[in-house]
């Protein structure tokens, strides 16, 4: 028996990074997953690779109609939803003096509006169909410990944290059997970070800098983050809701 045996999971940003690792981990634990992503080529390829346990649905996380369509597709495919993972996100550096309002809005749209919409529309199917449901939102250590060079990202991830707790309490108040928690990755070796490294004049120096911010002196892997998502999504965490779990090599403790 897998730890997510026969559960239905929808994973936004499921085609790459922590979303992709979560999709892979979920399938090994007996879940069926719907990979939702704006990158159709990567998403379809991953669904194909994972076989009968996976489907792909196109999703623009910032568009409400797109969420409606994705949830409708999950309903058509499986008639049910047990787990929603909100993993899609972006990170672009800028501080309070250099950040343009457009950058601020864009970051919040992709990192925070997305989770708002995901929770809002995910709940419509979750509350109707699951007996033991879970939402896991990918926030960031920077949502708990902001860095000045990432002002919009900090704020958008703090929003995810607050939203997570509020939705957790809402589900309790309404008596929905749905837990809601956030995972807070430190620097993690995802395509997002790969982008930074590729753009850096000295890749190794950049990676060393990322690593040295964390007491364990290394960056995390998507698999390590997926393990945390799995734990919170599974029934092993059935008494855990409204929690922020850092997976960060000790970053938030220092």
């Amino acid at each position: 028996m897998g730890r997510l045996q026969d559960k239905i999971g929808l994973i936004s940003g499921g085609a790459s990074g922590i979303g992709e690792a979560s999709a892979r981990r979920f399938v090994t634990e007996g879940a069926r997953v719907v990979i939702a992503d704006i990158n159709a080529d990567k998403g379809r390829a991953l669904a194909l690779e994972l076989g009968a346990a996976a489907n792909f649905v196109h999703l623009d996380v910032t568009a409400e109609d797109s969420w409606r369509a994705a949830i409708a597709e999950v309903r058509r495919l499986h008639g049910r939803l047990d787990i929603l993972v909100n993993s899609a996100g972006i990170s672009v550096p800028a501080d309070i003096e250099t950040a343009e309002l457009a950058h601020w809005h864009h970051t919040h749209k992709i990192n925070a509006d997305s989770v708002f919409l995901g929770c809002k529309h995910g709940l419509t199917l979750l509350k109707e169909t699951t007996r033991a449901g879970a939402i896991v939102n990918l926030a960031s250590t920077l949502g708990l410990r902001p860095q000045p060079g990432f002002i919009a990202y900090d704020s958008s991830k703090a929003s995810v944290w607050a939203l997570t707790r509020a939705v957790a309490l809402h589900c309790c108040e309404k008596g929905y059997p749905i837990r809601v928690n956030s995972v807070h990755p430190g620097a993690t070796l995802t395509p997002m970070m790969q982008g930074y490294l590729d753009a850096a004049p000295d890749r190794d120096a950049m990676l060393t800098m990322f690593a040295s911010n964390h007491p364990m002196n290394r960056v995390g892997t998507p698999q390590e983050l997926a393990n945390a998502v799995l734990f919170l999504a599974s029934d092993e965490a059935s008494y855990i809701t409204g929690v922020a779990l850092p997976v960060d090599g000790g970053y938030c403790a220092k």
């Binding site: 008596g175 892997t221 393990n227 855990i240």
Partner: protein
Amino acid sequence: MQRLAGKVSIITGGTAGIGRATAVRFAEEAAIVVITGRNRAEAEKTLELVQRAGGSGCFLEQDVTAEAGWIDVMHAVVNRYGRLDVLVNNAGAFFVKPLADTSLEDFKGLWRINVEAVFLGTKHAMPLMARNESGGSIVTVASLAGLVGLDQCSAYCSSKAAAIEFSRAAAAEGAALAHPVRVNAVAPGPVWTDMIARQYGDTAEMRNYFSEDQPLKILGLPADVANGVLYLASDESRYVTGVALTIDGGRGAD
């Protein structure tokens, strides 16, 4: 399953409640379980459950507040099993008393077992674990009471806050080792344990009170905490250190 396969684990206070549930959960995941405590008869019962779960282990009599006892336990474990991978600082004490009625001895007594024992265990376990290629994991069973204030529990709350902060600081030292030793805490909220039943009386009214005392409105059980300890003890959380994982039915988020 095999999530702790071959890992030599010490669980203090493994004679009841959360300690017993953790011992059984660890055994199910193929750990070697060393239970320490003062009550041999209860420890034998735990060991029987461990064996029934397919695991193996032993009992060592220990007063966790005595340093000499810790040194003896570490020697005994290394002599018998050759290594130490996991320490669960679970032994704890609790009382409810108005401040005016709390004697200095009451206060110190609680701190000895809830704080000093955690210090001693962590101090003596860390160098042993650092010898392992795979490092080690220390999990302290603190309490949500270390993060929020409970009426007439000032000694207990302050001791659990100290245990959490101790873990966060010790995590930095563990992270810097060549073979990292992770140090985390779990912070259970209302959980129906033997300790609680003794304190308040095992009545239907009390169980009902505990079921209603958090947003999820279910009775938190030692097994819920054991699952959190398992996650933090296992290699699945190898990038997690310095966190306090609340397991509280959402009470801390409220």
